[in-house]
């Protein structure tokens, strides 16, 4: 039996109940899948008749430290999983700015944090997935081993699909060892100098774990063995000096990274807009950000994963009209350098597909076709995704 927490919320506790919830006895009601709800505003609003709540699908099903793999149910809080893995000196190498998020929600949104620079996102770390479609198919792809090319990689398709293709009930992930030590080095630099430093850093033999820029502060995260980190820290200071900047050390740098995370995540009531460009185009994105903000009469901050070319505008002031003008203007400026802009959080008035997702991608017809095959009755979060999918 499925416990009905609220009239339209189903909270399955195992795979069989999850399948029942998705099929909804063939009643044809539309649904959204919800974990901790930290990214419920991502995508365009969908008005479902049903919420499939994953927060009772929890637990680490398997963790083999020697194989460095784990299988975990989707509703497990990411922090809880990390706590479990840390006991074996391991972690799932993803650090999104939403600490309360579930593993499944982080996967469905392909959310990530600064150390994506080194480890990639869950897209790169999930090696197996269990999917329940809205017509009741239960399918696995991938497996339990880190190297495997048998069959289609459904995990890639589902990662970032925002629950529009079905419910992921379980993932198997590749794990990494916890680094022995870490160090944060910061420097005060503007966007132009930050870009020059980071491109130089990427061209150097240094192996960095993260590099973010916010409010004219550049922060670099180094981790590894003590001797290696000490050596890399020296090399990083030399590199900064060559650029006329002065580096400051912090053993962990939690405060710096918390500020960066806040810039990327935003809070309720904020509008959060994510732009992507080539790493070398931070100056273009940053100068357009300031200009568009001023012209639109909005207020906000910019935080960038510089090495990845991912820039987050967090708007904390201005009405929906001014924010809408900012989004349109910044999108056009970013597109001019080959990038794109997607809205994450938003004021309720900023709800249409074009504002949130921008122009349809080149392959939108294929995406519609994939949606039609896997969710033939369009029951999973209709209208939430790109192109009104």
């Amino acid at each position: 039996m499925i416990a009905a927490v609220a009239p339209e919320t189903l909270r399955p506790t195992d795979l069989a109940e999850a399948r029942d919830a998705m099929v909804d006895a063939g009643r044809g009601r539309s649904l959204v899948i919800r974990g901790a709800g930290t990214k419920a505003t991502w995508g365009a609003p969908s008005k479902p008749a049903l919420v499939v709540d994953t927060t009772a699908l929890t637990g680490v099903v398997a963790h083999d430290p020697a194989d460095a793999t784990a299988t975990v149910r989707a509703g497990t809080p990411l922090a809880e999983l990390q706590g479990h893995l840390a006991e074996a000196g391991q972690w799932l190498a993803v650090d999104p700015p939403h600490p309360d998020a579930t593993v499944g929600g982080t996967f469905a949104a392909n959310d990530s944090g600064p150390r994506r620079q080194r480890y990639g996102t869950l897209r790169d770390l999930v090696i197996g997935v269990t999917l329940v479609t809205s017509d009741g198919a239960v399918a696995r792809s991938g497996g339990n081993v880190i190297k495997n090319v048998a069959g289609y990689d459904l995990a890639k398709l589902l990662c970032g699909s925002l629950g529009t293709l079905g419910l992921v009930t379980e993932v198997t992930v590749r794990l990494h060892p916890l680094p022995q030590v870490r160090r944060t080095v910061t420097a005060d630099v503007d966007a132009d100098a930050a870009t020059a430093v980071v491109l130089d850093l990427l061209a150097s033999p240094l192996v960095i774990s993260a590099v973010d820029w916010h409010a004219n502060t550049l922060a670099v995260w180094l981790e590894g063995r003590p001797a290696g980190v000490a050596d890399q820290t020296r090399a990083l200071h030399e590199l900064l000096t060559r650029h006329g900047a002065t580096g400051a050390d912090a053993d962990d740098g939690d405060a710096v990274w918390d500020a960066m995370a806040a810039g990327h995540a935003g809070e309720d009531g904020d509008t959060v807009v994510r732009a992507a460009t080539l790493p070398s185009d931070l100056p273009a994105a940053a100068s357009a950000f300031q200009r568009c903000l001023t012209e639109a009469g909005a207020e906000g901050t910019l935080t960038s994963h510089v090495g990845l070319g991912l820039h987050t505008a967090r708007l904390t002031g201005g009405d929906a009209d001014s924010q809408g003008r900012f989004i349109a203007a910044w999108r056009s400026a970013v597109a001019a350098v080959g990038g794109h802009v997607v809205v994450r959080r938003r004021l309720p008035q900023l709800a249409d597909t074009a504002t949130i997702w921008g122009p349809d991608p080149s392959a939108v017809a294929l995406m519609r076709s994939v949606k039609a095959q896997l969710d033939p009755d369009r029951r999973c979060a209709p209208g939430r995704y790109v192109g009104g999918i």
Binding site: P65, T133, A139, G143, V145, K147, G160, S362, M367, V370
Partner: protein
């Protein structure tokens, strides 16, 4: 007939020398690296542009003719095996490097460019393309994309799917679309991730954007010798168990050592029971510390002696010996099957023991060369076709891959399913798993013309009809068994 109609259309759109119809010329395309089941295509074409590829595909689609893409033909699973009534689309003429963005570490290439050419094109900037299949000197990036190619260094640096950023795709109905791109997080479903490793069944890639990596500051390599593969396996478990992710961990058993040494002559110890080749790379101080630990762990696991490469030349020699292992088998046996199973790393000793027992039971010698760090086994089953041993040896190879699946692994780590292992797919996946994958295939290739007969089991190949899609039975036992 369909192919004739396609040919008649293409002579008007493609240059004369881009259409191959002469039987002798067609025969040169009768197989890829899987040579046992040659099939001569009805027609082969050599387009030079994405537009020409699209014209061929549209024509095939219009006339209901199957088509198969081919790069260098080095694949080992039959992914580029032609269709007897279809068109083979050979991408060998699309071999331009279109753009090199040194600052952003991205390179844009056509599918016929070889894997090694990408590295050569950026080496002067201290950059390289990380995935390094053993065939990298000849295999093409288009084929790497189709197969999600791996290689020696993918344990640390990832597979093709982690290094391909964007693709231009000719869809199975002949449209040209862009998927992903040089900029991260392109809005929409990650079709790039679906296409990489789809073995040419979801379209033909005509342009590829890859990321290239900074060459490591230092690399150190050692060969540790052990009495037996089981002891070497313990060293691997100790290394990974301590949280070390080396750039590469390769194991060879005695047969493989003998064959490689005979071929490469680099001074390997041909009396050792097993050799472990371990490489650490990265920032110098990090590598020094890591390498010292690897040395200690190998000694603790019972290494009889350890040879540390003194310089880059010696490192290159050791890798040459490893990469020559397959080809060197010709010295030991007239014929061999290369297997490509994967097991959890912790099952290494157990599975190697079972393989040895199987070898004893059947009388076929099995040499082991493999990527120990990620559990990807390449047992080589040695046989003599002239003595009529092919079928029995093939059976041994299948039994080895079954052992891998039973140990919780996979039927293929990097060679792909193709035609070779399509019939083994039901060992790993349920009917329903395969049915959902087929729905995805149908979304991109509604007419079923794009490299048909690959990846999925078919009645023709496997002699049994795969079940149609059915809703899952609700029995908890059924669910439990599968998951």
């Amino acid at each position: 007939m369909g192919v004739e109609a396609v040919r008649a259309e293409l002579v008007r759109t493609l240059p004369d020398d881009a259409i191959v119809t002469h039987p002798a010329q067609l025969r040169t395309y009768e197989c890829d690296g899987l040579t046992g089941h040659p099939v001569v295509p009805a027609l082969a074409v050599l387009p030079a542009t994405a537009e020409q590829v699209a014209a061929v595909v549209r024509s095939c689609h219009r006339h209901g003719v199957p088509f198969v893409a081919r790069g260098a033909g080095t694949g080992l699973s039959g992914g580029a095996q032609p269709h007897a009534d279809g068109v083979l689309i050979v991408l060998a003429r699309m071999r331009r490097i279109l753009d090199i963005d040194v600052a952003n570490q991205r390179v844009v290439v056509e599918p016929g460019v070889t894997n090694a050419e990408i590295t050569r094109a950026v080496a002067a900037h201290h950059l390289y393309y990380a995935p390094d299949p053993s065939s990298q000197i000849v295999c093409t990036i288009g084929g790497n994309v189709a197969e999600n190619a791996g290689g020696v260094h993918c344990l640390k640096y990832g597979f093709t799917t982690n290094h391909v950023l964007g693709l231009q795709l000719v869809t199975p109905t002949g449209a040209i679309v862009e998927v992903g791109g040089p900029v991260a997080d392109t809005p929409g479903y990650d079709l790039r991730g679906v296409l990489v490793g789809s073995e040419g069944t979801l379209g033909i890639v005509t342009r590829i954007t890859v990321r290239v990596c900074r060459t490591p500051q230092t690399a150190k390599t050692l060969v540790a010798y052990f009495d037996s593969p089981a002891h070497a396996g313990e060293a691997v478990a100790a290394i990974t168990g301590e949280g070390i992710i080396p750039a590469g961990v390769e194991m060879m058993d005695n047969l493989a050592i003998r064959a490689s040494e005979a071929d490469a002559q680099v001074g390997l110890d041909i009396d050792a029971g097993a050799a472990l080749l371990v490489e650490a790379d990265g920032p110098a101080a990090e590598v020094d510390a890591e390498f010292d630990r690897v040395l200690a762990l190998c000694r603790d696991a019972g290494a009889t002696h350890i040879r540390v490469a003194a310089d880059a030349t010696e490192r290159a020699q050791l890798w040459k010996a490893r990469k020559a292992a397959f080809a060197a088998m010709g010295r030991l046996s007239p014929d061999y099957f290369v297997q490509d199973g994967v097991i959890p790393r912790t099952k290494l000793g157990e599975v190697l023991g079972r393989v040895a027992a199987l070898s004893e039971e059947t009388g076929f010698r099995v040499a082991n060369v493999f990527h120990a760090g990620d559990g990807n086994l390449h047992p080589l089953v040695l046989y003599d076709a002239s003595k009529g041993e092919s079928e029995a040896a093939g059976e041994v190879a299948v039994r080895i891959v079954n052992m891998c699946v039973e140990a919780g692994g996979s039927i293929t780590g990097e060679h792909g399913v193709g035609t070779d292992k399509a019939c083994s797919m039901p060992k790993m996946f349920s009917e329903e798993d395969l049915a959902v994958m087929q729905r995805l295939r149908h979304a991109l290739d509604p007419a079923g013309l794009c490299n048909p007969g690959k990846v999925f089991p078919t009645p023709r190949l496997c002699g049994e009809r795969p079940g149609p899609y059915r809703p899952h039975p609700l029995e908890a036992a059924g669910l439990a068994e599968r998951l």
